[in-house]
Symmetry: C2
Subunit: 178 residues, 2 copies
Amino acid sequence: MIIEEMTPAECFELLQQTGFGRLGCARSGQPYVVPIYFAADKDHIYGFSTLGKKIEWMRANPLVCVEVDEIISHAQWRSVVAVGRYQELPDELQGASVRNHAHSLLQKRANWWEPGYVLSTHRGKPHSAEPIFYRIRIDEITGHRAQPDKHELATMSRPLESHRPESWLARWIHRATP
Amino acid sequence: MIIEEMTPAECFELLQQTGFGRLGCARSGQPYVVPIYFAADKDHIYGFSTLGKKIEWMRANPLVCVEVDEIISHAQWRSVVAVGRYQELPDELQGASVRNHAHSLLQKRANWWEPGYVLSTHRGKPHSAEPIFYRIRIDEITGHRAQPDKHELATMSRPLESHRPESWLARWIHRATP
């Protein structure tokens, strides 16, 4: 497998293509990870949710991480990690322009609003909470792309015995065995 | 959409079925999320990796979170979140039994070892690091399952205008507009 770093432009392209990833937040040293749908531009990730654990945690600690990946096979994948800062988009924030921009990005996704909006609808009870719009200001973005190398391509059709790290695995298991 | 809580048994079933998820760790309040392959039993998640950012962070703060999901559609999905504590499995820990158990779980997955093992192989350079085996002691596991409700099933073939929360979305966008 050949793993290469992705450029920031390639990272943003994957964010925008997928619009789905995992959001990590943390409180008192305990991380918490949930799936989210979002829209993104070059500087921000936009999403929304009803009030719940992740919003409460991000209000308490705005440092967050969004991970997005595309896994085609074990040897062919892309993974992007963006770290940044949670910002709520209340009505008064920066006037209409931020809201209009967020809306124009978010509405491009069919049903983009649905998972975040109905997540508080349990067992058919209607939700009552007002949705909370937020954005994540991206402070750093990194990504990696994996592709099979020539050796792997050549050996993909036969058993992978030669690849298996069984010598060290066996050593690890049996070392220190009484 | 009807969202129901999953039982702990159903959560473990999804963990074991998928063997793939996202690991969240945190340092100084900053969360970090990466994809991982793993094996699981009722009490632990087992994985391995070469030395890198996630191992360094988990050594510094063993509080972690593993999220696993299965997304069939916006209205049909399962998501499980396990929180727990990182433990390295060095040669001397608890003798051979833990290692044998980890190995028997891990080797059931074809190529289970590959992504963690070669992740340090960049641009074709061979890795030199010894693999680090770890487990995560699961302290709490929760999960949710979503299914379309009757109304959604009935309206799935026609435009979702009646579902769209456009009234509040429009209000949110235009409220406070000068």
